[in-house]
Symmetry: C2
Subunit: 554 residues, 2 copies
Amino acid sequence: MAFTDLSIAMDAKMLPIQEIAERAGIPGEALEQYGNYKAKINVDLLPPAENLGKVVLVTAISPTPAGEGKSTVTVGLADALKQLEESVMVALREPSLGPVMGVKGGATGGGFAQVLPMEDINLHFTGDIHAITSANNALAAFIDNHLHQGNALNIDPRRITWKRALDINDRALREVTIGLGGPAQGVPRQDGFDITVASEIMAVLCLATSLEDLKERLSLMVVGYTYQKEPVMVRDLGVEGALALLLKDAFKPNLVQTIEGTPAIIHGGPFANIAHGCNSLIATQTARRLADVVVTEAGFGADLGAEKFMHIKSRKGDFHPDAVVVVATVRALKMHGGIVKTELAEANHEAVRRGMVNLAKHVDTIRQFGIEPVVALNRFVTDTDAELAEIFSWAEAEGVQVALTNVWEQGGKGGLELAKLVLQEMERPKDFVRLYDETDSVEEKLRTIVQKVYGGADIQLTDAAQKQLAELKKFGWDELPICMAKTQYSLSDQPKLLGRPEGFTITVREIMPKLGAGFLVCLTGDIMTMPGLPKQPAALKMDVGADGKAIGLF
Amino acid sequence: MAFTDLSIAMDAKMLPIQEIAERAGIPGEALEQYGNYKAKINVDLLPPAENLGKVVLVTAISPTPAGEGKSTVTVGLADALKQLEESVMVALREPSLGPVMGVKGGATGGGFAQVLPMEDINLHFTGDIHAITSANNALAAFIDNHLHQGNALNIDPRRITWKRALDINDRALREVTIGLGGPAQGVPRQDGFDITVASEIMAVLCLATSLEDLKERLSLMVVGYTYQKEPVMVRDLGVEGALALLLKDAFKPNLVQTIEGTPAIIHGGPFANIAHGCNSLIATQTARRLADVVVTEAGFGADLGAEKFMHIKSRKGDFHPDAVVVVATVRALKMHGGIVKTELAEANHEAVRRGMVNLAKHVDTIRQFGIEPVVALNRFVTDTDAELAEIFSWAEAEGVQVALTNVWEQGGKGGLELAKLVLQEMERPKDFVRLYDETDSVEEKLRTIVQKVYGGADIQLTDAAQKQLAELKKFGWDELPICMAKTQYSLSDQPKLLGRPEGFTITVREIMPKLGAGFLVCLTGDIMTMPGLPKQPAALKMDVGADGKAIGLF
């Protein structure tokens, strides 16, 4: 029988979560168990930290649709650091049920570099995303109830920007009309559903520093505009307390373990396009209170997740990564070298050579922040020596540090070389800089990201976006960081422009104020905030045995 | 400061859930903790039971909109039985978030007769209802994806009967159109949302006897019809395994405690109109394995919850209640005596006398099943001696056992008299009979319920219902019990016809096959499967303190 992620996970021997907590220095009274292998951490009951641990950020080159194994490398790197006797924790995002049931199976790493219990983490886990769905839709119901009950705030039903949300892939809910059926059934209007991880509430939960801060951020969320085009916020409806109440447990970080018994915090999972794509700030900061080294990741390629980690998450948390790992695969490099998806398994070292430009750009980007990245070459069985040689000769020529990793097959052992390079890099003094200031104009901030991070020439705002920008300035909302919503497949806003495109212009077609999250989402291209299911959803293979064990989760 | 349910609950000293489990005879390995005061029970790991405990069913007269305190009496009665040194457990339904945020506050009993931790139980609890929401909407997404991806099953988009669901009060979602926005966004069609507790999946979870049975029932759910008007079931889509996987933890009963430390199982919460309104069968049967006496309740008045307990739940479980408590209040009796809602607090013993007819009917109904009921008169501070005297003189004349209860104020002590009557009644030999057989024709089953339980004259089926009935017969679905969907306020199908109406006809306007649940829902009057919010939702008073404690949940 072939190994699958699920079979490996099920054969793994887990330690009781109390034991993991003890290893992490979490006192019993701060632990709220969810079953025997999951727990929430009550951070108010943790002992004060003398100093905070260092942060290793794992990012990637522009990915293939299958992903390059960033979570797997993150977990494997942490387990390798543990083997080197470092005090280490992992901080990851929570998987969304939509992609799990749709395409992906799970999102908990793979092979012998997984977080456990993978079944639970991939299904409902500790209910955080469900709590966000509840809060998101409670708010929507409060808005529509307000319209129905006399509309004292004078909200324009055509200008409600708050959408409903479900943690599911369901294209039929992207555009809907609601409130049909006559006067007893509410006010008819156009609406739509996003996947829950695209809800601003997810971003809020991931950037809040305390329950009070969470409530304050919720109160600032813009839900729509009046007939006089004045913004309407949650605080105008007076329901931030109820929303915070619904989120009080979801806000507590979740403790689990890697397959090698390394403590892992898995908490929050915002989209990496419409939002900032990193686990919660409170998870990262809690891990830093508990361990000397925290390995964490940011979604998609370095142009998206890492850029936002630098400009949004770490800015809010007032820290910076002490090392950055850029994950690359031979497969993705070949794709950037012009090979189509169906032929990626065939040996082709020239394509690898051509594709190196994409990795080179992401390496340059990280260097601009004042950090020398370490490239993790995530090995696949189909990789040939000639292909790997291309990468090493490029790395030598460019002075880039590269480590081969084989954590899927070997766990931490397969990441030891990477871990040693990361430790060296962590110790090196660095001059961290952010590429823009929040006080720069929106156009300047956008241009900085496009030119320095994407390697493009310029930006262009559609008429609609220009109008929105004028509004933002009028309301004084322009001094916020930018959260770009862009395709992950290309450095540009065109998914098929692979490799390292140059001279392109990024078109911003919409600017959405997310005052609760504290950023301005700039939409480029066609960004999907509610995915669809494929013709044969992954769910068709899923089942549960009479013994209660999951079948076909992968 | 006045006592509130929340303040009493928060001041209560809870025992660790392991201790409650130990009291109940649940071995440690069968316990899955959710925090320190909640746990799921893995019933497969319970020791075999030598015999099953007796069942006390708590039901009520036709209620006022505020309810008559049925859950409160259920909890208080169990605590009283414990004070009398009986081995006792409570089995209750899980509260739905919709009403909690809307009107009701919580649904965990009241005063000194509550289940704890009330905050958690009233909010997300152990996530069961969220899992049902996920499964319900995953199924909806699979259906719409099937339409979008070529519609191999030839499903008629106009005849899809499966609706989406959210655990919320949201009238604007009752009637919607989905799939708008062009060919990439699915197939446009009319749709609607129910509150999750009205989902057939909730009924399925509450009637399944094992995980295998759960999956079998899910596979039988009808989701719509083809263009040839043939039924389409979940098994045709092949997703019953995925749905069961999503529900595998939700299917495990939840253990909590009453304020006096009596073990309580709270699990499942189907609507008492569109569904059968009882906690899960597996919860009741698990409690019976663990205790000599199980006190459980059924929703609304005896015409709804108790009738369905007798004909649906206990039939599936092959048992019958050993005693039945009918909860009445002076307030409700006055309402049935013709007093309007705003004047119920004023003394009026003549109105009580006139209103006795409603209670008398419910007492007669229970007697028809071969059980002599005990009336629990749930005392309020506004009750006068003259009002109470009316009830006792009626009871003496009719030979009905009545106990005054004051469990809100006194906990178990306030229910001792009731408990003693119940224990006597439990021991009396009885000749339990169900009023209809599943093999009776649908019309006969309906007529039996209307004449014997509601005290009406006859039934009438609309043309639409007759057509549906003909279809049901054609498919061989008519030998299932009936699940009446009727107003709870009247014995008839007209909410304003209080007291004990006679000679009325019940109009059935729709018959819905629920093959997974295993019953036929017969809709009468205007039954709401998605409630709306009031002008001032309860949520406006809710908040959470910086210490993480709930505020204004009641």
